[in-house]
Subunit: 383 residues, 3 copies
């Protein structure tokens, strides 16, 4: 792109163009998957490497993969609650270390694939803990739960690989449900709040506040990290934007769709206001819109459909699990996105093989390239 | 069969025989799978084609595949309740259209495989709706639910294909459970009745009426379409008989077995009288007896075993799901038949590969043919 | 081993050595899998063969495979309760016979693989039956349940085979849950006790008795056979020791780990005292430590991890299923061990392919042999 114009430009223009290009290139090097960083980090200290893997793991929670975004999101978590930030950091580090010890595939460890489930387990343990912040004993189940999530990840992958499906957040959802079931609400060491089903009585008597519902949409993005404050949620969204603006748009769109679904089923106002109605929609929308499918108007419609499905399934599962006090976590989005990835028919031609999934914007470019049969795999930052 | 006797028959006898043969042939052309119709319909209007696909879809509900039977069964549904008939029609048409739009495999669409789950979703939504008949808003979830069933069908098929298993009514069962969980009993827009577990208190105090129990057996066939009136149930049975008499016999046998299982577990009398005890047995019995297995005395015994298993599993699941107010639908029969299809050992030699499954009577003929290694696939109506 | 020293030993010493060797060999012929017995039994009466298959089936319950151990364990069951012993015998015989009738793979039938699920179903039906001992009608569901477990075993194996996973006690767990759900607590013919969740109120007020907790550890091994008496439990352990001392050590270790997990979650004292907290840990520990993985210090640690996971998952599932009165049986250990068998990474190199699994001690020897590429498969008793 930058070399085509070489011959018919003047020297000065060329210099200017090339310097602008260099700036854009450096900016582009910071968004997307930052795959070039892996090469650069190969001979660095283990602690530095671990930090990068963990930061990638932080972004994997929200279907991104960029250590810089990860730093931004971690900052947002510490801003929202230093205790939650600490637990999340502990979880992602423990899980990544356990994966290294268990000798998991190094490409997976480098990509942060083993850390994000541990992080989510830790964040949810902290969010539902009823013993108050800075209850240090909680670090014990946080470490154990994060470590367990690595076993689940490693065990589920050969099963899901058969259909080229990602393991996604299945391990997190399983481990956290088992943890809540195991401890129960009255556990003397690790008590936790009970989740309330979204359709539960008493019925909504107060009028719905449109402003608060609108505020629930960005909060839905934050709720992916179990974070319910507006400022940190917006910072998380900014971090996501750094990885891929398309992904950020889909996150907001999905959260809006989820809120709409919640409105249609007249769930408790609290669910709408806190963004709990929206986050499954956001996850479902992001997974289909651009990440695992090449972006086009057809997959865009599919992403909206997936967001609706995720949101309605979330209400259904929240009612089911809520009746025994369990949160539905992100079961709905995970199951819905998995279903979409399994779809046959003309839409499956847009599906990107798991090994080739990159940031949505790169997917668009790389797809045309590998579809054209180009066997030369150029550096993905060299667009 | 009709051509073997050619040389040693007189002219007159030949003519008579051939005219009788023609009549039998035309009659035979109306039962079974009517595969010849597909060729005939290829260049007709889309609306006509859609009608045939939808009518095939109607019969798929009861494991048949014949547009004429479908018309008879739809008539029975309109007879039982015009509102239910309308919902069923809407469901099967929506699902088939969505499958066309999603670019699903045309052979599957032509065979009505995408319509029947949508139809069942619509019928159950109507049957459990507590807002009364002709509550037109119900058409919205009916359309959405039917469309969702296509996604589930398409998504489940690559998973089940690995073991050459049919998707069957898994999509219907999943969608309807999610719908009931999502709306809940007190939903302001789409309220629905709660299902009552079959073994629930108070215990049966009144004497059991043998006549009503016997009446429950044909009603069990009607309950496959969520239809609880005797006349329409018999008409549905007649439609099934048009497709395959063997299938109709197995349906009644299975329903009787299911009723017997219900008696042995002393379920509520209402379950026996309305045929709710029998319909899972009927489905299980039909699937194994002749359809997915070649008919023989061994598979006949297996069909009875499958009917018993379906019926007992149905009581178990109805007790489980009924405790939170959900109906067990046809989970039991679907799971039991799937288990039977997975069986190893000497019985698995009777198993018909999914791609070769036809009407039970044709299965008997075609099996001997493809087992004999005949590579020429003759027209299946030309027996 | 015994032939290497031949040339440099005196005649007398050789005789002594060879006679000692013969004794050791005969002893060794009695432990492990006793594979040589199959050849010996081939032309014997069917009733004798059936007895051997059934006795192997008895040991399969506790992950062993030795008819002598089976006889010892059956003796222990009759000692604990003749009625339970009778039910167990009936269950294992019915299941094995049904497998023969259904034409299941003869190697599987010979190895007792079809009997043990039936035995467990029978034992649990007896243990939870509230109509008292020697309620002969119970034999009807015992026979039917055992027969059903064969169907489940045969149907699940093609699914689990894809990942080289054992069917294990999945059939037992499914059948028994269905049975309890089907009959319900108030069934007029087959009433049964309700299971109580381990974390249920009222909280533990009495002090914990260390002696009783310690006694719970060997009881945990007995609870694998639903046997809660100390003497028979120790006899079962002795029988296990006959098969493989390593397995027996892992059983005790796992039971201790399970008790520890129960203590950490402060479950009801009764669960600790009766060994109910320990038996899932014991099963999980045995499966990983030596049986499906070659024994080494790394797999030993994995076995302890699996025991902890099994125990905690058991508490979680017991709380979940206990809320509707169902026991969690051995779901936890089965799922945890399955997860461990699916693990990727460096630990998976210790995994023994299912077709090569023998007694833990032989696994150690045979592994080095088949890894060394020795194509000559010598008789496994000829160490």
């Amino acid at each position: 792109m930058w070399t085509d114009g070489k011959t018919d430009m003047q020297d000065a223009g060329r210099k200017r163009a090339s310097s602008t290009g260099r700036v854009i290139k450096s900016l582009m090097a910071l968004n997307g998957d930052m795959a070039h960083l892996d090469k650069y980090m190969q001979d660095k200290w283990f602690v530095l490497q671990l930090a990068v893997w963990a930061l990638r793991g932080v972004t994997r929670v929200i279907l991104a993969n960029n250590p810089l975004s990860g730093a931004v999101m971690l900052l947002a978590l510490y801003w929202a609650s230093p205790w939650q930030g600490l637990l999340g950091t502990l979880g992602v580090l423990t899980a990544t270390l356990v994966a290294v010890i268990l000798g998991q595939d190094s490409a997976e460890v480098w990509g942060g694939l083993h850390g994000f489930n541990g992080m989510l387990v830790s964040l949810l343990m902290g969010a539902f803990n009823s013993a108050g912040d800075w209850y240090l004993w909680l670090m014990l189940p946080v470490c154990l739960g994060s470590a367990t999530s690595v076993f689940f990840f490693s065990g589920l992958s050969p099963v899901l690989d058969r259909w080229d499906l990602p393991v996604a957040v299945f391990p997190f959802n399983m481990v956290i449900v088992l943890y809540f079931l195991c401890t129960g609400p009255d556990n003397p060491h690790f008590p936790h709040h009970l989740a309330v089903p979204p359709s539960s009585a008493p019925p909504n008597v107060t009028a719905l506040s449109a402003a608060q519902v609108l505020q629930g949409i960005p909060l839905g993005v934050g709720q992916i990290f179990a974070c319910g404050s507006l400022g940190p949620s917006l910072l998380i969204l900014a971090g996501l934007c750094l990885y891929s603006p398309l992904q950020a748009v889909h996150a907001l769109l999905g959260s809006a769709v989820g809120t709409l679904a919640g409105l249609s089923m007249s769930v408790r106002h609290e669910c709408l206001y806190t963004g709990l109605s929206g986050f499954n929609g956001a996850l479902g929308c992001m997974a289909v819109g651009g990440l695992f499918f090449t972006f086009s108007w057809r997959t865009h419609l599919l992403a909206i459909a997936c967001a609706f499905l995720s949101a309605f399934v979330d209400i259904a599962l929240s009612n089911l699990l809520g009746s025994i006090g369990l949160p539905a976590c992100s079961w709905a989005a995970t199951l819905s996105a998995t279903l979409m990835l399994l779809l046959r028919g003309s839409l499956s031609t847009y599906r990107i093989p798991l090994a080739r999934v990159k940031a949505p914007e790169r997917n668009l470019c790389s797809r045309s390239r590998w579809e054209a049969g180009s066997t030369v795999e150029r550096d993905s930052t060299d667009v």
